[in-house]
């Protein structure tokens, strides 16, 4: 049996670490990092077939963070999962530290692709998925995109291509946190109905509560079994999730927490008394 409680605890620890590092090292984009922590924990602790010691081993699953501005969440997850020394987080973004606001190419073990310009990750995954089919390998390619990111036309070019070629080794996850940089996603672009849109494009589209670990795991496992179609998982999330004063407040797209705010956040997460 999977210990859901253990995963939830891991997610809380990672959230605490994110807030702390953001304060200490001035890393922005907390809101969009906090919204995808549960997804990352589910993926890295239960779903991805990937060895932290040897992430590029033939046949390993791949994860691509297409919303590159959430690099902080990815790096922290990788550090907690043992891909590299957790001490690197202490000096995040500092001189000679490979961790920055966006992932650079091959910056740390477990990250190959540089993202930060939105709307590239899905096409990268399609290319790797085609290569895997050509080489008759069976691994899966997971991509995490923002709901703002899917404004980009390039995303929909990939969306049209993948079903045509039955790329059932591609699993696109959308961090549907209802905000983008300067507004509500549904007020900037006509985003609704997002699940139906992917369905209509020929994807196996699944909606899930992106903060419910049990549901996330069930959905991701089901996604891995789908045959003949690419899969889109619309994860219903809250920007700033887990910390009362950050939740659904888009100021935390850029804001850096104060020391007091870090303390309050850690208390709320049950990490300190």
């Amino acid at each position: 049996m999977i210990d859901i409680y253990r995963l939830e605890k891991k997610a809380r620890q990672i959230r605490g670490q994110l807030v702390e590092t953001s304060h200490k090292c001035h890393v922005p984009h907390l809101g969009g990092c906090l919204s995808c922590v549960d997804i990352l924990v589910a993926l890295y602790w239960q779903i991805l077939k990937i060895d932290p010691e040897e992430p590029n081993k033939q046949g390993s699953d791949k994860f691509i963070l297409s919303k590159g501005h959430a690099a902080h969440a990815l790096f922290t997850t990788l550090a907690y999962k043992g891909f590299f020394d957790r001490q690197l987080l202490d000096n995040y973004g500092g001189l000679d530290n490979p961790l920055g606001e966006h992932p650079l190419p091959n910056c740390v073990s477990g990250v190959e692709i540089a993202t930060g310009s939105l709307g590239h990750g899905l096409s990268f995954a399609l290319g790797m998925a085609l290569a895997a089919k050509l080489k008759q390998q069976s691994q899966k390619f997971f991509v995490l995109m923002g709901d703002g990111e899917i404004n980009e036309g390039s995303v929909w070019e990939a969306a049209l291509f993948a079903p045509m070629h039955q790329l059932d080794n591609v699993i696109a996850i959308i961090d549907y946190n209802k905000w983008q940089a300067t507004g509500r996603s549904a007020e900037v672009m006509s985003l609704e109905s997002i699940t139906e849109k992917w369905q209509a494009f020929g994807w196996e589209a699944m909606a899930v509560d992106g903060h419910n670990m049990e549901q996330l795991l069930l959905t991701l496992k089901a996604a891995k079994k789908v045959k003949g179609k690419p899969i889109a998982i619309i994860a219903d999330t809250v920007k700033g999730k887990g910390i009362s004063f950050m939740q659904d407040d888009n100021n935390w797209h850029y804001r850096i927490p104060t020391n007091d705010e870090v303390m309050t956040a850690k208390k709320e997460l049950g990490l300190i008394k």
Partner: protein, 310 residues
């Protein structure tokens, strides 16, 4: 510079009903004042830059004066074909404004750097390319760009750049501005390196080298008359830009020189190297690593002049 841009575009929209502001999901609250005076002429176009550019073309074809704004790489290279075909080929009066140019967003990685935009934009027929040195130039460039009957690209830094102009200079698109006079050497700088050029000239003065500094805000069309004067008068000319030395402002000057000068002038082109810049923690750090701070530039120039004495 971005606050100045917001202020000026608001002023322009107040008096000219043809102004329409398009933004690519950046600048939270930056355009609040604009939205108050002309809410119907502001569109957040989302994170969809290609569509934004061609919509601007459609607006321009219908008599409006669109100004499209987002982070520099996303308003230039992200939507290059749209700029080439829909703006330049149709020669439409659309103003593109890029914020955070060059290495302003150094710590965000190469996705957010723009050290190729001048090269690419100036290779497009009909395009006017302006690199602004400070808030004064932002205001004047935008105001003048409104009068151009074709596409204009305005390249800006981010915020808190030092002022190089203490009062309004005469600003004409295609005409450089002389900031200091000097007899030994001329530094022609563009955009966010003009302030550095001023610092360099001060450092050189300590070594009894007197420097003329020019802000060549318009990279295209170049101020050919001014260049001719400079190249006739100085044996040493330096170009300075926060942009790849391949294809940028310095290249534009070198091209002009090869085509037009029949005598030898020592041209030193200073800019960013032809490689992606990573692992830098700030713009200052990047400039330090790649010798774009005043001191190493002054040293380099000094060495060139010393060599001549021997």
């Amino acid at each position: 510079m971005r606050n100045q841009f917001a202020e000026t575009v608001t002023e322009l929209a107040r008096t000219d009903e043809r102004v329409v502001l398009l933004s690519g999901d950046i600048g939270n609250r930056l355009f609040n004042a604009y939205k108050e005076i002309a809410p119907e002429r502001f569109y957040n176009c989302g994170i969809a830059e290609a569509n934004m550019i061609t919509m601007a073309a459609g607006l321009a074809l219908s008599g409006f004066k669109p100004v499209a704004y987002t982070i520099t790489p996303f308003i230039t290279t992200r939507c290059l074909e749209q700029i080439k075909v829909d703006l330049c080929y149709h020669n439409l009066p659309v103003i593109l404004v890029g914020t955070g140019s060059g290495l302003s967003y150094a710590e965000l990685g190469a996705t957010h750097h723009s050290c190729e935009d001048i090269a690419i934009m100036r290779a497009l027929p009909n395009m006017t390319v302006i690199c602004t040195a400070d808030t004064t130039e932002v205001r004047l460039a935008l105001t003048e760009a409104m009068k151009v009957d074709g596409p204009v690209y305005i390249r800006m830094g981010k915020k808190n750049e030092p002022n190089v102009h203490c009062s309004d200079p005469i600003f004409n698109i295609g005409k450089g501005i002389s900031l200091t006079e000097g007899k030994d050497i001329c530094i022609i700088a563009t955009g966010n390196m003009v302030a550095t050029a001023m610092e360099v000239s001060e450092q050189l003065l300590e070594k009894q080298i007197s420097t003329k500094v020019v802000s060549m805000h318009t990279v295209k069309p170049l101020d050919k008359a001014l260049l001719m004067n400079i190249f006739n008068e100085y044996k040493h000319v330096v170009t300075l830009e926060e942009h790849n030395v391949v294809g940028g402002f310095g290249s534009a000057v070198a091209e002009w020189y090869v085509d037009n000068c029949r005598h030898y002038v020592n041209l030193l082109r200073i800019g960013t190297p032809d490689r992606f810049i990573s692992h830098v923690v700030s713009q200052q750090d990047a400039r330090k690593k790649y010798q774009l701070l005043a001191e190493p530039i002054a040293d380099k120039i000094n060495k060139v002049l010393e060599k001549e004495k021997i």
